[in-house]
Structures are given as structure tokens and as C-alpha cells.
Symmetry: C2
Subunit: 797 residues, 2 copies
């Protein structure tokens, strides 16, 4: 691994001795994880706890004729069998999603996708619950399934959502952005127009831990405690209040250690609600944990976009406009994490990192007989698809113009002096300096040398490809005007307390699914207060103990909660300043905050740290006027804009001409996420995202047969990349701080997942150039590459 | 029970339907308690939990020669035996108290009081731990015990605290207040001077639940969780950090449901530290629970004051000055809750409710071979003793002058126009209006009629007594200049969140030992926000989930945290006002807050409540400028002054001339605690305190024999009042709000305990007037009354 070194010295092995603030340090949470002391939902054991299993529909589209639960109820270890009819009587059969739709908790009228929830059993143990599922007899009346988005839009297609009053087709939403007429004018006058049909297949985030919950309803206090694999505990609490009719202050959602989220754990799935209902009806704690197949078939898909991209340019490579048409497959329900107002991320960045004259996008969302899609799998509401589209068609244009793809990009980048840059669809990129990032990637990759090597190999008939992508992301999932969930805004709270002995605790609205928040946020607060990160505890993932906020996804933790943490620390620092002024006997205005301490200007010996101050700040001494008492503060941070990280990726592949096997030989990723808090954690995020990209580009697809059977229901069918498929990652960075973020950080959780697929696909297409290939759809499995080499490229869906 | 009705209508039986805000409502916590679903420390059961028992010294003063733990360690169920020597090697043998002293956790050098902690055993069950105590062999070298304060002060008395370097006597502290010379001058010119020796015996708060803890140390996370019967979880956390050397942010102190505190649960006792050490050395959770005898012999005594009171007056009853000398018995250590700076409460109110020309007080604190005393048992740092003293000597003066004791008080009261009133020792009584309170008590009691009845009975040889007391308390345990613990100030934090659906949660630094905080604070917040108290959850008693503060004692919850709760609610209301202005499309300045809603001035139809606003306040709509987001706020409240409740009590007793048995026939209590939040809870507090008063006046004493053996080690010896000993309480009230408290509340937790003993003793002395009795010391048991009747009154200690 090549890593350009950071602004802090090495020596990060010794966590406790680490100097204050930003820089490399080992993750504070890892001692727990590496010793097997993590506490995941499936580790929760409560006295008298029962187990829940869900009966799922074996077919994609069928009317429910009848259910007979007699035999299951007679099972000696079964405590309850619940069907949609039971829920209907409780007014709980349908739940609102977070996206202006409803979803059946259990089927009452008809099955709309394979794997949909039909009934559940609560039993004394997991095995009995599973066994009893087989005793439930269900009669279905099969209906014609709709699995193709184009067919879904045809006149006369079966109407999937006949539960919606007056619904006569499968349209979900229609959205557009940009100026269609201006774009048409630009295209009409362009020297060159390239268009390309591009499919981003349905994929699954496939976290290590599946979804699950332990619900514990206390009838005496009327209180529900829910340990839940969720990325958004506060939003879930509000939803449970609405769905189950419980008072919100009597609901506690705990998101303990989570084994990966990647957007899969943003939505509320019916299983969570089943666990709640199970606990209410049995009066006992109830645990529900998906098995791997349930997770892969029924929950949280992403992508599934059928796109047409058009790009207009001058003959010498000046890009004038981009126009796209998208059909988005939302599955049977517009799921919890599907776009609410519009596909914000896609609309935000489909124009890429380029200074255009016009742009236009039209998107149609469609219902099909598939599980609900649209989770924010490293996509901040469709960024991944948009970046893939633009970076693919820019490469198509380069091929058309016979121009080096790097040179084409350099020529069209938004210039540093143009920031903040308003795109042709009205989004304001906060900051950027693209050329140095691109050049750093070229330098690390040895780009010119690679091109020479490629020419030599090509001359020998070897298939070497060099792919480039350059992305600008819109992350932070704020402010309100762009995005919200359940009509809830994107403001996030943060609370900070410095204890009398100078140790601190910070409470976040966001929580971690493995991102290292316990370390990053301790560093942010530590940097602002001059307190070692080891002395700062981070509390998250428990609605009872944390301020309100919308959760972790869309790379938003650092851009939003990170800002809140820095600002709340400054609030505490302002309190401490008053105490320090008393201790040092100078006016607060004469104190300078520097290197983690208050100094008296002009007197190098007079300095106090916040840890020096802490006991006195809680103390009985005569404290200065204006000091409220206790080093505590609270803030709600409402981001004024999104943040826009960018990055330049260069991928080198070799394609075996005999087997069509793609080997990623090298991958250079230069990321600019603004201020870097812990470079080691950033690199970890990048490494993970790049691996995601290899999976999506080369291996992963959730496909369906024409009956709507999901063909990716196990890890035998749904292939995830391993160490064998990935190269040693080569990472670098540039730093362009966000001007509106208090510490300039932009968020990095999704960058590599967003940026890597186009680089890999561009590399493969580049390798196949001798065969005249201009495009091939993911996943570029050997058989698909083989077909492409033979001019038989076909869309994956 | 006679109760003057309150400003809110009846109908409090239906809690959930209760209108917003202050007024009678059933306690929200009671459904849990009456169904046996309270969660006390002894209810905590953790997997693998061990049990701890403490070996206590059987003698009061002895050098420790040796301990043999071999046999105990060999017990098959014993996991650890720990002695002072072990603790010494861990540097844990001595702990700081909260009061500028140290206390032995386990004896290392010598035993200083009977019941002192010598060793502890941790075993698999409580029974084995107890059994193993008997296997520990301890050799003592007996020393001369010092149990009398006067002897302790004698030249050549054995030095108890020879652990303190250079200590050659038993002085603990000497304090004085007031102007000695001015007071002497007043006394010299007075027509009448009365002096009286008065003893306030040592008593025990005797809560229903004894002290205990469950300590759970996690070696992987280095985290200590301590469920503890404490009234001050945050102060305890800081102390554990200091005592055990654990980082404060890794310590969580949980004070769950507590079965009564009364000051007994303010200190850190060695048992708590033993539980922590037990968990650290065994690596398992460890439970320690005192039995009744341990609680009565070893923990948290109060009073033990030997006082001389002097009062100077004109012949016509104008009181000129008060002078007092006190010897305070602090036991072997200046315990956690003993005075730190000076005996603030005593110094604050020993001048009573009277407008004096001069006053002086001198107090000497002494070490003796008794368990540490000085807990804040309804005394806010010695208020009970001071009020008893002044109200006793005022009655002595009345007797000397031949004046009705009510008339004497009325003549000398501080006048309403004199408030805020600065006493001759520099304390500022915030507000008061004494005469109406006294007259309301006289009205309820039918005072003149009672005097007529007494005259008739006395003529028949019957012993009827009428006793009066009038008290002014100094409560709130703030601001800093008067009181602190561990050098920590008296500021208290409060946090409030209103959830999107309009339910709220308020987090307090103080917590409840039965006072009904879950109700009172829900009402305070509900009143300020227009939210039904049922929709406001109160969180307290958990350092991880609550802001810093000093705990509940000294009637301080409502004066300090109640102010914080009201102010934090107003902060949230200010946030909501901005949202409301957007909804109602008027400027925020044009909104009027009235009856729990924002109204547009001049438009009766335009109004929104905070519950109407809540979802939008978290929402995606275009919110007005200046709105930070989320209805959350935090505050630290640093009280500018104490609050000074007052009250007038009238007691009627009959003394059986044959048995000397005292019967409290009637008791009228008129309290003025400022604004009344929940009159039902206030009455409950008054009833409890009056019962305390009957116990102290007539029954309770912790006495010692000359060897230092505690004579009150069981409830057979330490008599507590029951329903048989108390009358139907007759309560009334006046309302004089505190001018500096945001809602004018003053605190009422201790009023009746403070005010009732002098009324009862005054009544008994009044009944015994035919025998020429001017004073008799508590407890007025039949034998002591019998002696008094025979002119043989003797001090109790």
C-alpha cells in the first residue's frame, strides 16, 4: 500500500499517548471488537426472551386466498402466530415508509414481491419458530408478475399497487431538472453528440450482519425498548410512534454495535414492526434476526437504473451539455429510504465535475414485482448512478473524439476560481480544486508510463486497460431544501459535557455501523478542547441518551454531526474561557486559544488547559461574572449546504483474452474530502469502498427471472469480492476544505464506492477497445466480457 | 385531614386527563411502585454476580494488631477476602470525604468507631459471604474510647485522629459568625436575658431501604458501572474517579429507584468503595447491601449538638439579640456530608424569623469514637438544630416574660416590607410574609379556644400543652458562596427535548428518593410548554444520561433543578416561537404565549401549541431565519441565592400524669414554600416530615454507652413512629413566591422535619408548666418526661 503521509507524525500505535486532536490514531472501539466484546443485536439476551420467524411469499405476485395457522398454533413451543388479518384488526397491517408511501407489514390483499412477509411465528426458541413456519398453510391465486421496468410502463400491464386508490398504472414518480429547451439548443449546435444506453444493475449492500431487532414492551410503564440494527434510530423512533400508536417518549430505540450498514439499515422493514407486535401480543421480549437469504432477497436493494446518457461537445473537446433519461425500478413499494422530494443526489451531480452550458435530466420511477429498492447504498440518494453515468459517457465522448480521457477531463473541469459553483441544475458546489487531484493521481499511477506500457502490450495482443474516473459527490444529506426523511429535516443535535476531572463525553445523533465514530468524534472534540481523544467518550445509537438527528448515511456523519461536535466544543470552550480569565486574572478578551490552552497574550508562562480548569469550573470558588456553571453545552446544527468531496481514480486492468477474466492489477485513488481528521480511518473507508466498486463492476447483480424469482438469494449466487479479487490499494489525497463547515471536513464514507465502478468499467472498455467495444454493462463477469469481445454486449436486465 | 383547597380544581384522580401544568395530579411513578415494579439496587441481578459482606469492628477504639484470613479464604464459595493491608497496597485504604477529611475504607491502623469496616468477603452468595466473615480472626489492642464531646475536648484526652500528621487533640473545626462585641453590648443593656442548655441528640434518618451497591467493572472497556443507593450520583462519580483512579468518563453511577434518603444517602460510605474494589479484584459484578443493623450502627447520623442558647429582650418582649455556643459531635471522621466551609444552615437561620439588633454564634466540631455524623437529615447543613434552638429559647423567653408565645413571635417577626432581609450574620432572606402564616395556623387550630380549653383542663389537673413554632429555612443548597461539596459548586444542569410528535423528555441532575420528581418536573415543564405532564418523561439518577449537578438534599431539587427545568423549557419555547411565527405568518414579536399556546395578538382564532409545532420544528418545510433546528435545549442554573420557606406550626399534646406518656392530639402545619406545583406531593412531604418530628421529639435517639457501644442498632432499640403515634395532620398554606426563582418555588422537602420538633417539645414543656419545667431534652420518652415532672430533667447525652 502506498500512502502519502499526513500532517501529523507517525507513532499512532500508542493510542493513549497520542497527542491531542486530529491525526492518525488507532480506533478506540477496536479493543472491544478484536476481543469479541462487541455487543450486537443478536448478542442481546433478555430473561424470558422469545424468538420470531417470518413466513415469506415464495412467489412474486399473487392474491392471498387464505391462511390456516391451526397446526402452527398447536406447536408446543409456539406462543403466537400472527397474520395480516390480525394486524388489520390492530390497524397495523400497513406502515408508512419514510418516502411518501405505505408498505404492507404482513400481506393482507396480495403478494407483491418474492420474499414478502406473509405471517410470523413467535416461539420459545429460534428453531421451533422456524419449524412452525412450515405448518402454516397459505393458498395463493397467482398473478402475472412484472419484473421489467419497460414492461411495467406498458399500457395494460398488471397494476401492482392496486391498494392505492385510483391507481391504474405502475408509475411511481416522474421528476425532472434542468432546462430542457436550453439543453436541446446546445445539443443542436454541438459538433459532436454521443449517446449511450447504460444500465446500473440492482445490487445489495450485503452487510456482514443481517437485519434484526429485540423488542421489549413493558405493559406497566407502557414503554417499548427496541434494540435494532438501524442506521437511523431517531427517525425510527418517530416512525414507531406513528406506526404503533405508542407515545414517542415511551419508545427507546437502541442501535448497539452494528455489523455494517451501507444503507441497508436505513429503512424500517416489516420485520422490525413484527418484533414490536410480537412483544406486545406475548408480553415478552422478542428477538427477530434475518438469515442471510432473507436479507439478500427481501431487504434494502440499491441502483436498478436503466439510463440513457447524452453528451454534446465541440470537436476540440469542450463539453457543452449533458442530457439523461432514467427509468428507476423502485420495486413494489417506495421504500423507507427512497427519494422523498426528488432523486436529489442524482440531480445534484449528474453534470459531474465539468463546467457545462446546459443540462437536463428526466427520471421516471416505476413499481415492479420486486422487493423495494432505493436504499442509500453509498449513494446519497443516487449519486453513485449519476457519477457512473457521467464518467461513462465522458469516456464514450473521449473515444468518439479520439482524445485521451484524462486530457478531456482536465480541459472541462470547473476551475478553482469558479467555486462556489452553481451547476446548471442549481446546486452549489461548495469548494473544489480538481486539477491538482487529477495530477496527483496521474503522478502516483505513472499515467504516461502506463499508456506506453499499454501501447506495447496492445501491439503484442495483450488486453491491458487504463480507466479513469473523476467524481464530485454531494454529501451531508442536508440542508432541508434538498433532502429530508419523513418530512423531518437534516439538522443534527450534539451535546457535550466536560466532567469535573476534565474527562469529556459527547453525545451524537448519528451512530456508527463500523465507521469509527468513537474515535473520529473524540478527535474532533479533543482538537477543539485540547483534551486527549482517550479522555473523550462518544455516546451514540440510543435515542434515550442522544439528541435528535436523522442518522448515519450519505456520508453525513462528519459533514453534519462533525460540524455540530466542533461547534458544541467551541461553546464549551467559550464557557471555559470565562473561568480561565478568572484563574489567569485577565479579561477574557486578552486570552488566546492556541495549542490546546488559553494563553495570556504576551506572557508565555501564563496558560491553562481546559482540563486544568474543569474542577474549578464546577467549583465553589468565586467564578467570574457571566459564567453559567458546568462545562456543558448543547447545539443543533442545521447545515447551510451540502459538502462536495471529489476524487480522481485510475484503474489498470488486464483482461485474459482466453477466459475473458478481468484482473484489477492496480488502483490509484486520490481523494479530497477536505480536512482529514484521522487519515487511517479515511483510508479504511476508501479501501472498503474500492472493494465495493470491484464487486459492483465485476461480480455483483441481483437478477430476477421472468417469474420474479430472485436469483441472488445466497452468497453462492450473489458474489462479493474477497482479497483475491482486489489489488493493493494505492491511495493519495489533496485537501480542499469546505468553506462552510467549521473544520472544513466533507465526509468520505461513500467516495470510493461512488468513484470506483466507472474507473474499472472504463478500464475494461479501454482494454477491449481493439474489439471496437464502446460500452459494456456491469457486472463485467467473464461471460459478459466474452460477449462484449464478440460484439454481443447485452444489458444485464 | 383538613386541607385548605388549592388554586386548581379537584379531579386529580384521572392523571392522563389532567389539564396542563401545576395542580393536583396523581404521581406518575406510583403505578410502578404500587405494582411492585420499582427497580431498587437490590433488584439488580447481573449474570455471574457475586455478593459482598463487610466485617465490622465490635469495639469503638482499638489498635489493629493482626488479621488472619486463611480460614475465610478456604471457604469453598469465597472468591476474595480483602483487608486494609490489601487496600493499602492498591493505595485505596483511605478515601477523601466530601468535607476536607479522609476516611478509612478498611481499617489499617486502628478502629475509630464501633461498626467500622475492617475487612470484606466476596462470595458466590450472600449467605456464604456472611458465614465467611466469622472465619476471619482479628486481634485488637483495646484503647480508651472517647464518646463524650466535653471529654474529647479535655486536655490529655486520647487522640482519635492520630492518622492526621501533627494532630494532638480532638478538635475538628472551630467556626463563628456574627459580631461578638455588638452582641455582648446588646446583652449587657437588655432588660431580660434567658439562657438555656439544649441538646439535640444524635438521630438516624432510617430510610426504609438500607445502603448498597452493585459494582460492575468491565476490564476490556475499563468501565465501571455502579448501581448505588445515592442521593448524589454525579458527586459520587467524581469521588470514585479520585478514590479509585478511574477516568471519570468511564464511570457510570446509576441511582435507580431509592427507598428513602433523608440525607443518609448523601455520603460515600466505605461499603460502596468495597463493592467497587470487589468487582475489580474478582472481575465479576459484586453486590453489597447493608442489613438494618449495619445501616443503623455505621452510616449517616445527624444532629448530636450540645448547645447553649442565650436570648436578650426588653421587658415588653422586644427581642434584641441571640447568642449561641455549640459543640458538634462529628464522630471519628468529618463525613462526606459534613459541613465543608462552615455549618452554613445553622449560621443562616439560628436568628430565626425575628428582626434582631445583634447575633453571634460559635461552634466547635469535635472528633469522637462514634460513627461519622453530620448527614443532611432534613437539615440543609444544620438548619434543624438551629430552628430547634431558637424556637426553644424564644419559648423560654416567653415563659420568663409571662407572655403568650404566639404574641411574642408576632411582635418580633421580620416585617414584609423588610424583605429581602439581611440577617445580622449576613444572610439574605429572599421573601417572607410571616404574620398571615402564623394567623392562618391560629385560625386552623382555633388557638384562643385551645388556650381556654387548656386553662379548664389545667384547673382539673390535666396536663394539656400547646406548642408553637415558627421557622424560616434556608434551602436550595446554593449558591456557591454558602455551600459546596468537594469544592464543587451548586449549579445544576437540565436538558430538554421535545420529540417530533410533541412528546418531551427532561433530564435532571437531581434525582428522587421518593419525592415524586417524575411528576413534579413533568408538571413544571408541562406548565411552561403547554404539554400535558403525561407527555413529559423525566430522566434522572444516571450520570451517563443526565447533566452534572450535586444531587438531591437540602430541599434543593425544586429551588435549583426546578428553576433549571423552567428556564430550559422557556429556551425551547423561544425556539418554538420562531417556528410558530412562520406557521402563523406573523413576526415572533407579535405572538403572545397564553394558556399553553402561541396566539396572534388581536386574532383569537390564530393559535398553535408546541405540540402542533413539533413535527414542523423538526421538519423539512421552509423554516424561519434564526431557527436552529430541533426543539432541544440545555441549561446550567447557578442559583443567585438560597430560598427561604417558612411555616407556622401548632401542636397540642396531652401528657398522662400517671404514666408520663405524651400523646400528640392535634398538629396544625401551615407552610409557605412559595409557588405550589403539586399540592398533593407537598402535603405528602409535610406529612412525612411531621412524622419525623414526632419521632425525634418523643422517641428517637442513637445513644452510646461509655465503652462506645451503639445502643440503637436495631429497630427494637431505635424507635420509629408509626400510625399509632401520630395524629391526623391538619395542613394549610400561604404563598409567598421567591422573587429570584423563575416560578417562585422555594422547596418543601424538609420544612416539617425542621419545624415540628420545637412545636412538640414546646407543647410538652407547656403541658409540664405546672411542674415548673422550663426545658426538657429530646426524646421526650415517658421516663424522661417523668423525670422532668420531678425536677430531675437531664441531658440525653
Amino acid at each position: 500500500m502506498t500512502t502519502v503521509d499526513d500532517h501529523k507524525p507517525a507513532g499512532f500505535e500508542d493510542n493513549d499517548q497520542h497527542p491531542v486532536g486530529h491525526g492518525r490514531m488507532l480506533r478506540k472501539e477496536d479493543p472491544r471488537f478484536v476481543r469479541g466484546r462487541g455487543n450486537y443485536v443478536d448478542d442481546v439476551q433478555l430473561p424470558g426472551m422469545l424468538h420470531l420467524a417470518i413466513l415469506r411469499a415464495p412467489v412474486a405476485h399473487a392474491r392471498l386466498v387464505g391462511i390456516d395457522t391451526t397446526a402452527a398454533e398447536a406447536h408446543p413451543k409456539v406462543k403466537a402466530v400472527v397474520t395480516g388479518a390480525t394486524l388489520e384488526s390492530l390497524n397495523l397491517a400497513w406502515m408508512p415508509t419514510l418516502s411518501n408511501d405505505v408498505q404492507a407489514v404482513l400481506v393482507t390483499d396480495k403478494v407483491r414481491f418474492q420474499g414478502q412477509e406473509v405471517a410470523f411465528v413467535v416461539a420459545e426458541d429460534r428453531y421451533s419458530a422456524r419449524d412452525a413456519l412450515e405448518l402454516i398453510e397459505v393458498e395463493y391465486d397467482l398473478l402475472d408478475p412484472v419484473v421489467d421496468v419497460r414492461r411495467a410502463l406498458e399500457e395494460g400491464a398488471p397494476v401492482i399497487r392496486d391498494d392505492i386508490e385510483g391507481k391504474t398504472d405502475n408509475h411511481c414518480f416522474d421528476w425532472e431538472t434542468g432546462d430542457a429547451a436550453a439543453t436541446e439548443a446546445v445539443f443542436a449546435q454541438a459538433d459532436v453528440v454521443v449517446e449511450q444506453d447504460i444500465v446500473y444493475p440492482r445490487v445489495h449492500p450485503a452487510p456482514m450482519e443481517t437485519c434484526g431487532a429485540v423488542a421489549d414492551f413493558d405493559p406497566v410503564e407502557g414503554r417499548l425498548t427496541l434494540w435494532s440494527t438501524t442506521q437511523a434510530p431517531h427517525a425510527h423512533r418517530t416512525l414507531y410512534a406513528i406506526v404503533a400508536g405508542l407515545p414517542e417518549h415511551k419508545i427507546r430505540v437502541i442501535s448497539p454495535d452494528i455489523g455494517g450498514g451501507f444503507g441497508n439499515k436505513v429503512p424500517i422493514y416489516p420485520g422490525y414492526v413484527c418484533a414490536v407486535v410480537g412483544s406486545i401480543v406475548t408480553g415478552k421480549p422478542v428477538k427477530w434476526m434475518e438469515d442471510r437469504s432473507e436479507n439478500l432477497v427481501s431487504t434494502g436493494f440499491a441502483r436498478d437504473y436503466v439510463m440513457r446518457g447524452e453528451i454534446a461537445a465541440t470537436r476540440d473537446g469542450r463539453i457543452l451539455g449533458i442530457r439523461t433519461h432514467v427509468i428507476a425500478d423502485h420495486g413494489a413499494f417506495n421504500g423507507t429510504a427512497a427519494p422523498v422530494k426528488y432523486p436529489a443526489g442524482f440531480f445534484g451531480v449528474f453534470t459531474g465535475s465539468y463546467d457545462l452550458e446546459a443540462a437536463y435530466c428526466h427520471m421516471t420511477a416505476v413499481y415492479t414485482n420486486k422487493a423495494p429498492g432505493g436504499v442509500a447504498y453509498a449513494c446519497s440518494f443516487r449519486i453513485t448512478e449519476a457519477v457512473y453515468l457521467v464518467e461513462r459517457i465522458v469516456d464514450c465522448l473521449a473515444a468518439e473524439l479520439g482524445m485521451d480521457p484524462v486530457r478531456l477531463r482536465l480541459k472541462n473541469f470547473i476551475k478553482p476560481e469558479q467555486f462556489p459553483y452553481t451547476t446548471k441544475t442549481g446546486w452549489v458546489y461548495d469548494s473544489g480544486n480538481y486539477e491538482p487531484t487529477m495530477r496527483e493521481a496521474m503522478r502516483l499511477a505513472g499515467y504516461e508510463e502506463l499508456r506506453r506500457e499499454q501501447a506495447e502490450k496492445r501491439a503484442r495482443g495483450e488486453l491491458m486497460g487504463i480507466g479513469v474516473s473523476f467524481f464530485t459527490e454531494a454529501v451531508g444529506a442536508g440542508p432541508r431544501k434538498h433532502m429530508d426523511i419523513l418530512g423531518l429535516g437534516m439538522a443534527d443535535g450534539c451535546e457535550l459535557r466536560v466532567h469535573p476531572t476534565g474527562k469529556a463525553v459527547v453525545r451524537l445523533s448519528v451512530q456508527s455501523q463500523g465507521q469509527g465514530h468513537e474515535t473520529t468524534f473524540a478527535q474532533i472534540v479533543g482538537e477543539e478542547l485540547g483534551i486527549p481523544p482517550a479522555d473523550v467518550d462518544v455516546v451514540h445509537g440510543d435515542t434515550d441518551n442522544t439528541p435528535f438527528g436523522l442518522g448515519t448515511y450519505g456520508s453525513r456523519s462528519t459533514p453534519v454531526s462533525g460540524a455540530a461536535a466542533a461547534l458544541v466544543a467551541r461553546k464549551v470552550r467559550d464557557k471555559a474561557r470565562i473561568v480561565a480569565s478568572g484563574m489567569l486574572e485577565v479579561s477574557a478578551d486578552d486570552l488566546v486559544w492556541e495549542k490546546g490552552a488559553f494563553h495570556v497574550a504576551g506572557d508565555p508562562s501564563a496558560a491553562v488547559t481546559i482540563q486544568d480548569i474543569a474542577m474549578r469550573a464546577h467549583g465553589a470558588g468565586d467564578l467570574p461574572e457571566g459564567y453559567e456553571g458546568a462545562l456543558e453545552a448543547q447545539i443543533t446544527y442545521n447545515p447551510p449546504n451540502l459538502t462536495y468531496p471529489h476524487g480522481a481514480y485510475i484503474c489498470v486492468v488486464d483482461v485474459d483474452p482466453g477466459t475473458a477474466q478481468v484482473k484489477v492489477r492496480r488502483f490509484v485513488a486520490v481523494d479530497d474530502c477536505g480536512t482529514r481528521i484521522n487519515p487511517m480511518i479515511i483510508e479504511g473507508q476508501i479501501h472498503g469502498g474500492l472493494t465495493d466498486g470491484v464487486g459492483m463492476a465485476l461480480m455483483e447483480i441481483i437478477a430476477f427471472d421472468e417469474d420474479g424469482n430472485c436469483l441472488g438469494g445466497s452468497l453462492m449466487d450473489y458474489l462479493l469480492p474477497t482479497a483475491v479479487e482486489v489489488p493493493d490499494w494505492e491511495t493519495g489525497f489533496t485537501v480542499t476544505p469546505s468553506p462552510h463547515h467549521p473544520i472544513g471536513a466533507k465526509g468520505v464514507g461513500e467516495s470510493a464506492t461512488v468513484g470506483s465502478p466507472p474507473a474499472i468499467v472504463n478500464a475494461v472498455v479501454d482494454a477491449l477497445a481493439p474489439f471496437g467495444v464502446r460500452h459494456a454493462d456491469m457486472p463485467l463477469t467473464p461471460s459478459r466480457v466474452w460477449d462484449a469481445m464478440r460484439g454481443q454486449a447485452r444489458p444485464p436486465i
